[in-house]
Symmetry: C2
Subunit: 357 residues, 2 copies
């Protein structure tokens, strides 16, 4: 009853103008002695402005500390200046590093990064992301692995006319909208590293089915071994789930084989940590009895004992590249169809050594 009147009072109070008004395009126009349309032309780099006028307007904007209101601009443009990042947290370090990279690339562009965590197993996943894109009229979306492998999602983005970048672990058939690392080359390098150390009985823990990174890492590793003249029996290849626990289980299976492997490659660091655990349970020393290689170079890898030999991929740089790709779409008209490819590479630490005789 009385609440209604009080809420009205409060709401009218809510519009506190705060005396200091933002400088607007009109202010600049008035001061420069031109129309706001001309200021708008300067803002949008229209070629139909006399150099003299452009300079005057630009210096006035500088002086007044004017920045155009993204909401107003967006409203007129029928789009926003927001970039979405969609992720289903597989790895916190990766997510944050990627964010930092993207923010780095976005700096000074006037675009902002809006994050959106989701659950790829939720049945509403797609429509929920779609609603997000639609509601905010996102200019672009950066999709992190493993969601980046979801073709249906990408198709939806394309239909909505929303720019996007897929972060992937290999170059796939996606002209221009891909930022990828070269997982398979790096795992081949890892395989050769182990071969060179004299390992021939090697165990491989793969990622879970359905992940492209699983295939890339496996393919590269096996190719690298083959180049070194080593063929892996099927029983030496075990599936994991990219989790610590699955790494333990997989390692237990591998270490039960006879002859026992002298080296294990785990398709990510979490599983490699699981290998450490299993090895300890069996009283095996690393790297004396068993060499271990991981993938990702997460902080965990260097806290383990001994520090883990692993594969690093340049997440920050890839994030920045993704941002730059979207910015290019925002300014240039011509999309470049070149995918950005970043090398992943082996970081040798102390978990690998010569094979025991």
């Amino acid at each position: 009853m009385s609440s209604s009147s009080s809420s009205r009072k409060a709401s009218s109070e809510g519009a506190r103008g705060d005396s200091k008004r933002r400088t607007t395009i009109n202010d600049i126009a008035r001061l420069a002695g031109v129309s706001k349309k001309t200021v708008s032309r300067v803002l949008n780099n229209s070629p139909f402005v006399r150099e003299e006028t452009r300079l005057k307007v630009n210096s006035l904007m500088q002086e007044m500390g004017y920045t155009p209101d993204p909401q107003a601009r967006g409203l007129a443009f029928r789009r926003s200046f927001l970039i979405g990042m969609v992720f289903d947290n597989p790895n916190a370090q990766m997510v944050v590093t990627m964010q930092e990279g993207v923010l780095d690339g976005l700096k000074g562009s006037g675009f902002e990064l809006v994050v959106h965590a989701c659950d790829r197993n939720d049945p509403n996943f797609l429509s929920e992301v779609g609603a997000f894109v639609e509601r905010q009229k996102l200019f672009g979306v950066i999709v992190l692995p493993p969601i980046s492998e979801n073709d249906t999602l990408v198709e939806m983005l394309k239909e909505r006319g929303c720019h996007y970048v897929r972060m992937a672990s290999a170059v796939i058939d996606e002209p221009g909208n891909l930022v990828a690392s070269t997982d398979s080359l790096a795992t081949a390098e890892a395989a050769k590293h182990l071969a060179k150390l004299g390992h021939t009985r090697i165990g491989f823990i793969a990622g879970p089915p359905g992940f492209r990174s699983r295939e890339e890492r496996r393919k590269g590793f096996l190719a690298g071994l083959k180049d070194s003249g080593i063929e892996l029996p099927a029983k030496n290849i075990v599936d994991g789930a990219y989790t610590y626990e699955s790494g333990i289980a997989a390692a237990e299976r591998l270490l039960k084989l006879s002859p026992r492997p002298t080296a294990i490659f785990a398709s990510n660091d979490e599983m490699a940590a699981g290998v450490y655990h299993a090895a300890r349970q069996l009283g095996l020393s690393i790297p004396g009895d068993l060499s271990v290689v991981g993938f990702d170079d997460t902080p965990v890898s260097s806290r383990l004992w001994p520090p883990l030999t692993t594969v690093r991929w340049p997440i920050h740089d890839m994030g920045r590249a993704a941002a730059q790709h979207l910015l290019r779409a925002a300014t240039d008209q011509a999309p470049d169809d070149d995918n950005a490819v970043f090398p992943a590479f082996l970081v040798e630490r102390e978990s690998t050594a010569a094979a025991p005789k």
Copy 2:
């Protein structure tokens, strides 16, 4: 020369209407046979709408899948529906978990989360964050530790009329804009745990000066020891920097003392990992020769061997609480001056055992 005409053509092409137009407030108004102002009233829960009208409008909005355009609304409201998260990455897991918690709390509210990584040592730090807030007319900002302890920053937000929440490790004098954990209670618990196990020679690795968490964790730990009748000599308290390397260095100093401590508390898990490293170098076994306790319960803590006894704080819940606090400010008029306080607590794992005789 010719570039001007070509760019014009391209830009006019850029405004591709894409046939399918968003449903607008006008559409709803026309279909409902009311003015758009009335629809707006329904959207904003104005009490001055007949129940019958409200129902009709609401069901139409439902049916048409209408959601108001946040840009247009924001433009009129002179604010945005964006929440900023400002962080200076001390810990990736914390940042991501916090983001997930905030997104959880924001879900369905129409607010989005815009992330902003920054460097608190950059001289432009303050003005840069200020520009961010201003430019996007942020509705609110969530400030993560350790930046949350920067009073100047908070003062600036207050001046700008921007709502904010500080995430902190203790209740400080900041009515209503604080989401805090109880670090000191948890470290007191850790101290008593060690005392109960018979440890009397205990080392403490503090966080770096200038951090409130440093003070809280130290204060609580010392108080807990005192309660157990243990007084720590000054030389048993060493400063660290919340990094792995600083943990190693601090542990080396502590383990050189004679008599040597039988337990070390590190003020975060990274430093605790450093303690593990130092202990290994000296051939000390954990927990046989040395008990270790950390703080944060990061993934690293359970990958270490033996798994680390540490303090967990409910980051996800705190993130959600921060979001809810801001949403309350967006709807209610009455700010509640209650700070949200979340208990941190000890997670006992295998790095602590009875003191060696």
